[in-house]
Structure formats: structure tokens, C-alpha cells
């Protein structure tokens, strides 16, 4: 028996509490089932790429902070690597080690927010606050080092803005010891909670070929079962010196590539990041962190593309230099933006409540999507 | 006029007035909500008659079940944005004749029946007696009704089921 039905358009966002910022979703609903999703972006567009053309090379760094404001360190990291490649300078060992440690701490901090907000969208308020409590500890480490808690401007072309604090090594070790049990607690409280599993397992399954076709990277791709990590595939900095694994989604409680897998990959990645930090923290050589910083950054004519494994995926910087003080063009391959493309595909046939669970598991930052 | 009389007239007024609105309001959603007050008034009168069990059943089944279902239907078919379903008046003359005859019959029955006037004796509890009667004298009917409802339930579920693709 066919009844004549109509779909309903529901506007979700830009002021919706769980669209992670100012994303607007236009949902086409059949009852509560989703027929189609149209993400509308651009509410946070700040013309980063155009702006960078008017800035000198070091002045761009504070702007990269503001793209993915949950992983500022890593944005700096990618940018300075690109400019250093353009300039052809080698940074001191000490700088490389500190950069890796900072980058991995930032990855943990960023994943904590991703996991926490994913839980929060599903209704678990308490784990979210526990994770924020732990993130604050990482931010304190950063603050101690460079004086800022969110937008660091810490990595400079050819070096760092500050050397690490004398207490940094001790406090970081303390943090690692403190943080390991917290992950276990989180797993007990949220990850393996039956309700959480029901809400995320088999929801928003992203098959591997779709993921590759859309260019999805980062934990979202690894959740679908492909161990692709730029830290291993296209090693930069000194990542080849550390022993770590690339966790992939295995479909422990559902299908490979579902929301739960993407979530769980992040938890496993935090553990791997802890491993990297543990290895690196004892090996930091002595030296000057500002030795290689050039007085005037004026790269020769040329282009460069570098990519790093940002907590959200492949963060690429494409820089064209025309030999001036300002870059001619800075193009960013923002992982959140690319990952968001696949969102509509994931939501089809799910319920309204799943939209936010899926969105949380993709983990986008609107600052980076819109740039 | 005692306290109970006042309450009785209150409930009666609620029932009648809201019943009037149910038929006279043009907005269907309003009608449905007025029906709520009608049911409520009737339940109140049941309580005053000492039929507390029936009163509660009245609220539970009619308000909690049937009315909610009705509201569901009305609200989901009515578009949320401004388009309102309204009831109109059609076939005024035949309806008037029909209602006139019906009213006449009711009034005639009211007048010509020999009402027994007894001092009111409100039974303390009715629940137990109802229960006993249901599983002794009326057990067959009770069971049949149960089966009927079950069939209706299954039928409804099978109609409402999404088509398998």
C-alpha cells in the first residue's frame, strides 16, 4: 500500500549545539530517516589563503594557528616544514625532537576533544569533562613552554620560539604516567558502554573504497581499515626514528569503518602518541633551538608541497614563492574539509540522531573547513 | 447545594462546553484538544458516581491512548507551517434533520422513562467486583475482546510495516 508522503526539510545549524561550530546542515527527512544531507559551509571563512599572500613568511604562522584551532601546533609544524624545504635549511636535532614531542602532545589533546565531543553529542556529558580536564594538563605544558594555551605560534621557520622549560621533561613524564590509567577509565566509562556501542556501531559505515575515492585521510580513513599514515608513508621530520604502530579499525563491535571504529582508532592513536613521546623525551639532544632561524626569510623562486599527519588527516601546504618576502600563494589541503565531503554519503538512510553521532566521529573543525 | 453539587456542575459544565467546542471549532487540532477536556469532565463525573475504576480507565484509555493517537494523526497530517486543516460545514439541512430526530428521541426517552429514585449509595470499592465479574460471568466476552484486540494489533502492525525492498 503506497501512501503519498512528502519529505521534510530540517535545517540543522549554524547555531545548533552539536554541529561543532558553524556548520549548517540541510537535512531532507522522511519521517526521521535521512534522505539527503547538504552541508553548507563558509560561515567561518576568514580568507586565510588570500591573507597569507599579504604577509611575510613568519607572519603567516599565527594565522595557521587559527585554522585548526584544536591542533595549532601541527598546523605550525606543517607550515614551517614547507618553508624550510623551500629555503633548503636543516634544523638542529633538538628542534626536531621537541617538534615531534609537541606535535604528538597536540595530537593527544586534539583527539581528546574529538572523543569527548563525540561522546557529548551522544549524550555522555561526564566523559567529555574528564577529557577536557586532561587536555588542560597538556595545554599547561604548552603554556609553560611558549606562554599560550591555544594559539601557540611556537614553531618558527628554522627553529622554535622558545626552548623547552627546564621542568618540561619531568612534567611530561608525569603526564604520561597520569594519562595511561585515564584511557582505561575512559574505555570503561564510554567506549565499551553498551549504549554508546549501540549508538555508534554499524552507524555511518564508510567502506574503504568510498573513503579512498573521496580522499578521506586520518583516523577516518584508518577507521575503515587502511593503515595509511603520512608519518610512516612519507616520513617527515624524524618520525622514522620511532617505533610506533598505526592502529586501524577492525570492526570489534560492528562493521569495519563504522563510527565506533573511527572513535576507537583515535583512542589507540593516543596510546601510540604516548609511546612516541616516551621514546623521544629521553633522547632530546642539547643545542640551540634558534640557531637556524634566518634573519630575513626570502626563499628563492619555486614551489613546494609538504604534507604532515595532522590529528585529522593529511594536512598539506602548497607554497609558491616568487622570491619576495611574501609568499605568492599558499594553498592548504585541509583534512577536515576533505573529510566533510563524505559526510552526506555516510548519513543516508540513518536517523536524525545518527547525523550528530556520525559528524562527531568524522571530527571536523570548522575553522579548518572554512579557513 | 453541597460541595459535591458544585463540583458536579463544574464537571458537567466542562464536559458540555468543551464538547460544544469540539464540534464547533474549525481547527482540527483545537477540536482534538477540546476532546481532552471532555474526557476529563466525563471522568470527573464517573468519580462523583463512585465509579473510580471506570474514571481512571476513562482517562487512561481515552486520554492516554486514543486521544494521543488522534493528536498524532492530526499533527502529522497537518503541515507545521501555517497551513491548517479546517473542518467545514457541508450538508447542513440533512444534518439538521438527523440531529433533530435524534435529539427528539433522547428527550422523549428522558421524559417518559420512569427513573428510579433511590437514596444514593456510593459503593466503597468497585475494582474487586469488576474483576470478579470479568473472570466469572463475562469471561467469554472478555477473552473474545482480547483476541479481537490482538488481531487488530497484528493487522495494524502489518499495514504500518515498511515495504521490504
Amino acid at each position: 500500500m503506497a501512501l503519498k508522503t512528502e519529505t521534510m526539510i530540517l535545517n540543522m545549524g549554524p547555531q545548533h549545539p552539536s554541529t561543532h561550530g558553524v556548520l549548517r546542515l540541510e537535512l531532507e527527512l522522511d519521517g526521521e530517516l535521512i534522505v539527503n544531507v547538504k552541508p553548507h559551509i563558509g560561515y567561518l571563512h576568514r580568507c586565510f589563503e588570500k591573507h597569507a599572500e599579504a604577509m611575510s613568511y613568519p607572519q603567516v604562522i599565527p594565522y595557521t594557528d587559527r585554522m585548526d584551532y584544536l591542533a595549532s601546533m601541527y598546523n605550525n609544524f606543517g607550515y614551517v616544514i614547507a618553508v624550510e624545504k623551500l629555503l633548503g635549511i636543516q634544523v638542529p636535532e633538538r628542534v626536531e625532537y621537541i617538534r615531534v614531542i609537541m606535535g604528538e602532545l597536540q595530537r593527544i589533546a586534539s583527539h581528546l576533544v574529538a572523543i569527548g565531543t563525540n561522546g557529548l553529542d551522544i549524550g555522555a556529558f561526564t566523559p567529555f569533562l574528564y577529557l577536557f580536564r586532561d587536555r588542560e594538563k597538556i595545554l599547561s605544558l604548552f603554556e609553560m613552554t611558549c606562554g599560550a594555551r591555544l594559539l601557540y605560534n611556537y614553531m618558527w621557520v628554522g627553529g622554535l620560539s622558545h626552548d623547552i622549560h627546564p621542568d618540561f621533561v619531568r612534567l611530561t613524564k608525569e603526564f604520561i604516567n597520569y594519562f595511561r590509567p585515564t584511557i582505561t577509565e575512559l574505555n570503561n566509562l564510554l567506549t565499551f558502554n553498551k549504549i554508546f556501542i549501540e549508538r555508534t556501531a554499524n552507524i555511518g559505515v564508510l567502506p574503504l573504497d568510498t573513503a579512498i575515492n573521496y580522499g578521506v585521510t586520518g583516523p577516518s580513513l584508518r577507521g575503515s581499515g587502511l593503515a595509511f599514515d603520512i608519518r610512516k608513508e612519507d616520513t617527515y621530520s624524524i618520525y622514522d626514528r620511532f617505533d610506533f604502530e598505526i592502529p586501524v579499525g577492525q570492526g570489534l563491535v560492528g562493521t569495519v569503518g563504522d563510527s565506533w571504529d573511527r572513535y576507537y582508532v583515535r583512542i589507540l592513536e593516543m596510546e601510540q602518541s604516548l609511546r612516541i613521546i616516551e621514546q623521544a623525551i629521553d633522547q632530546i639532544p642539547d643545542g640551540d633551538v634558534k640557531a637556524a632561524i634566518p634573519k630575513r626569510i626570502k626563499p628563492p623562486k619555486g614551489t613546494v608541497y609538504t604534507r604532515v599527519e595532522n590529528p585529522r588527516g593529511e594536512l598539506g601546504y602548497f607554497i609558491i614563492s616568487d622570491g619576495n618576502l611574501n609568499p605568492f600563494r599558499v594553498k592548504v589541503r585541509a583534512p577536515s574539509f576533505v573529510n566533510l565531503e563524505v559526510f552526506g554519503e555516510l548519513c543516508k538512510g540513518h536517523l536524525v540522531a545518527d547525523v550528530i553521532a556520525i559528524l562527531g566521529s568524522i571530527d571536523i573543525v570548522l575553522g579548518e573547513v572554512d579557513r | 447545594m453541597t460541595f459535591y453539587d458544585i463540583i458536579f456542575y463544574l464537571f458537567a459544565a466542562i464536559t458540555l462546553i468543551s464538547a460544544l467546542f469540539v464540534v464547533s471549532t474549525r481547527n482540527i487540532v483545537y477540536s482534538a484538544f477540546y476532546l481532552l477536556f471532555t474526557f476529563f469532565g466525563v471522568a470527573g463525573i464517573y468519580v462523583l458516581l463512585g465509579a473510580d475504576f471506570i474514571a481512571v480507565v476513562q482517562i487512561m484509555v481515552y486520554v492516554g491512548g486514543i486521544l494521543i493517537l488522534l493528536l498524532f494523526g492530526v499533527m502529522l497530517t497537518n503541515k507545521i507551517t501555517n497551513v491548517e486543516i479546517r473542518t467545514g460545514t457541508v450538508q447542513l439541512l440533512p444534518a439538521a434533520i438527523g440531529i433533530g430526530i435524534f435529539m427528539g428521541a433522547v428527550v422523549a426517552v428522558m421524559i417518559w422513562t420512569e427513573w428510579k429514585l433511590e437514596p444514593a449509595q456510593i459503593p466503597l470499592t468497585t475494582t474487586k467486583d469488576i474483576g470478579h465479574l470479568l473472570i466469572t460471568d463475562y469471561v467469554l466476552i472478555f477473552e473474545l475482546l482480547g483476541i479481537l484486540l490482538l488481531i487488530a494489533l497484528i493487522g495494524a502492525a502489518s499495514i504500518a510495516r515498511r515495504d521490504q525492498e
Binding site: M8, L10, H16, P17, S18, E32, G119, L120, D121, I122, G123, A124, F125, T126, L129, Y130, R133, L189, L190, N193, I195, F196, E198, R199, L351, V352, A353, D354, V355, I356 | F3, V29, Y30, F33, L36, D52, F53, V56, V57, I59, M60, V63, G64, G65, L67, I68, L71, F72, M75, L76, I80, T81, N82, L124, T125, T127
Partner: protein, 355 residues
């Protein structure tokens, strides 16, 4: 209490109004306390402090909030249906207030001794549903309507497992009256229904596990009936913003909150009465042992409120622990898990109580 006031004043009207007023005052005081308590419980569970400024540890915070709410402008959206929009919060509160009429706080302090008490409680909750639907529809907001629909579907379905468990208790005690059910589980805690009731026999011990299952079922389903996490789908702030009361503000919104917290206590009271001895003290009465008979009702009221608040605390505890279910999973839990278990439980309890 009604009888007492009636004797005192000699007027039915005054007695009625006073009884109602006492209950209303209790609800208001309880809500003031519960809102503060909820905030403190959630804060301490999340390693926070919660409100600390107004009064000792913020005890007067709710009053401050209430004053703020009174000052708020009463905004009604232009496209909203004014009449229904205004009635809805009143209707919702009426529903939860009416439930209190039948709850026995102690052997003396009870609004009305309704013979079909527990049945009545289940019935008046349908007013809340109608109110919620009214609020959702009249707001003229898609989120509100979705929230109202979900809420109505949820409350109507979860009435079934509740009723089934209630039925098993009714079979055990042979009465529908809340007052009588409380009276039966007298004196000490091992006489409570959760421990198989007052009669000392083989059946008592056989009943314990099934009573426990029954308690779990009714607790879960009442949780759903008052829209608390993990069943707070109708007002899920992360998906439907606030569900049926998205558009409300100021005192009208406060009415919804009032009703929500009043309902929390009401369902806790139901659980207490059915399984945990109602107003009966777990350890005997001080008033009886020192010969001060007048003390007993107060002691009973104390125990009743204490038990009620304990279950309210558990509700809060669950809320700050669990994520929320999806709307279809909510129905799955109800129809595929709770109802079969409740049904099975009902049959087994029926057989055992025949022993």
C-alpha cells in the same frame, strides 16, 4: 490529613484547599532542592564544584535562578499558536501535580486515599503527554514537534512495562491502593516487597530475584516516562536542541522544569511504595519505642522523602553517567526487552504468589 483538617476547620472546602496547598508547597520546595542537588551531583561527579556563590555551597542558587526567571520577558513566537502555547505548560504541570494527590507520604499525611491509587497515578501521567504534544505543536517549530512526537511515543510505550510490573505487585498484595501497599510492608526492611513481602514463607525467598528484576524494569521504564537520560531523547539538547520546550522561556519554561522535577520525585515515590516499603521505616519507629505515638507519622514522612530522594539521586547518577539511546533503540529496549521480561516476571510472580 484531609480528615484532620476537616475536623479542625469543619469545612470541606478549606480542608481541600489546605491539603492541595501543602502538596504544592512540598513540590516547590522539593524542586528548589532537587535543581540545586542535581547541579551539585553532576558537578562533583565531573570533578567540578558547581554553584558555590549564592549561600553555603550555592544552596540558594535555585532561588536566584527563579528570581531571574520571573524577570524574563515572556516571549511568544509570532508564528506560534498563542492559546495552546500558553496552556501547555499549565497542563503539563497539572498532570504531575495531580499525581501527588494519591501519594501517601505517611500514614497520616496523604492527599486522598484513592482506592485505585496506583492505577490513578499511571492514568494522570497521560495529561503530561497531552501537554507535551500541545507544547510541541503550538511552538510551530520542527524540532519541538519532533521532540513532542518522540516524547509522546516514549511515554505511551513505557507505560506498558510499568503497568506489567505494577500488576505483579498488585497480584502479590491484592490491592491497588498505594496506602494499603505501604501498610502491608510494615516494620522492618526484610518485610519490603523487594525482599518478597511481609509473609514469611517459602514463596518469600523464591520471590526475591523476581522482585529485583521487577524493580529494575519499573525503574528503567519510569526513567523513560520522566524523560531522563538515557531516555531523554525528547529533549536531547545535542540533536533536538531542547525538544518540545525549545521555544519556551521565562516562567513558562520554568513550569516545564518544575513538572520534570516533580515527576522525578513522583516516579521515585512509586518505586518506593511498590518495592521499598513506602513510608515504612526500615528499623522500626523511634516514636513507638519511646511512647510518643504522634512522632510516628513524621518519622514515616521522613523515611518516605529520604527514600524518594535516594531514588532521585540514582536518576541523577545515571544521567551523568550514560549516553542517550536513539529513538528506535529506545523502542527496542521497551518492546523487545522490557516488555517480554516484565511479562515473564509477571507470570512467574503470579505462580509463586499462588503457592
Amino acid at each position: 490529613m484531609y480528615q484532620f483538617l476537616f475536623n479542625l476547620s469543619g469545612s470541606e472546602i478549606i480542608a481541600t484547599i489546605f491539603t492541595a496547598a501543602v502538596i504544592l508547597v512540598f513540590i516547590l520546595l522539593f524542586v528548589l532542592f532537587a535543581v540545586w542537588f542535581e547541579r551539585k551531583v553532576s558537578a562533583h561527579m565531573q570533578d567540578r564544584l558547581g554553584p558555590m556563590r549564592v549561600g553555603w555551597h550555592g544552596v540558594l542558587q535555585t532561588i536566584a535562578d527563579f528570581v531571574k526567571m520571573l524577570q524574563k520577558e515572556d516571549i511568544i513566537a509570532t508564528e506560534a499558536d498563542r492559546k495552546l502555547y500558553t496552556i501547555a505548560p499549565v497542563l503539563v504541570f497539572t498532570g504531575s501535580f495531580a499525581a501527588y494527590a494519591a501519594i501517601p507520604f505517611s500514614s497520616k499525611l496523604l492527599g486522598s486515599e484513592v482506592e485505585v491509587g496506583i492505577f490513578y497515578l499511571l492514568a494522570v501521567s497521560s495529561f503530561v503527554v497531552a501537554g507535551i504534544l500541545m507544547a510541541g505543536w503550538s511552538s510551530n517549530n520542527k524540532y519541538s514537534l519532533l521532540g513532542a512526537m518522540r516524547s509522546a511515543a516514549q511515554i505511551v510505550s513505557y507505560e506498558i512495562p510499568t503497568a506489567l510490573v505494577v500488576l505483579s505487585i498488585v497480584m502479590l498484595t491484592g490491592t491497588l491502593s498505594l496506602e494499603k501497599i505501604s501498610q502491608l510492608q510494615t516494620a522492618y526492611f526484610w518485610n519490603w516487597n523487594i525482599f518478597g513481602g511481609p509473609e514469611f514463607s517459602l514463596a518469600k525467598f523464591l520471590l526475591i530475584p523476581f522482585m529485583f528484576v521487577g524493580f529494575l524494569i519499573i525503574y528503567i521504564s519510569t526513567l523513560a516516562e520522566v524523560n531522563r537520560t538515557p531516555f531523554d531523547i525528547p529533549e536531547a539538547e545535542s540533536e533536538l536542541v531542547a525538544g518540545y520546550f525549545t521555544e519556551y522561556c521565562g516562567m513558562k519554561w520554568a513550569m516545564f522544569m518544575l513538572s520534570e522535577y516533580a515527576n522525578m520525585f513522583a516516579v521515585s515515590a512509586i518505586v518506593t511504595i511498590l518495592f521499598f516499603g513506602g513510608y515504612q521505616s526500615p528499623f522500626g519507629y523511634l516514636g513507638n519505642s519511646i511512647g510518643a505515638e504522634w512522632l510516628v507519622p513524621f518519622e514515616q514522612a521522613f523515611w518516605f522523602i529520604a527514600k524518594g530522594i535516594f531514588f532521585v539521586f540514582v536518576q541523577m547518577w545515571l544521567r551523568w553517567t550514560l549516553p542517550r539511546l536513539r529513538v528506535d533503540q529506545l523502542m527496542t529496549v521497551c518492546w523487545k526487552y522490557l516488555i517480554p521480561y516484565a511479562f515473564l516476571n509477571l507470570i512467574i510472580v503470579g505462580f509463586i504468589s499462588l503457592l
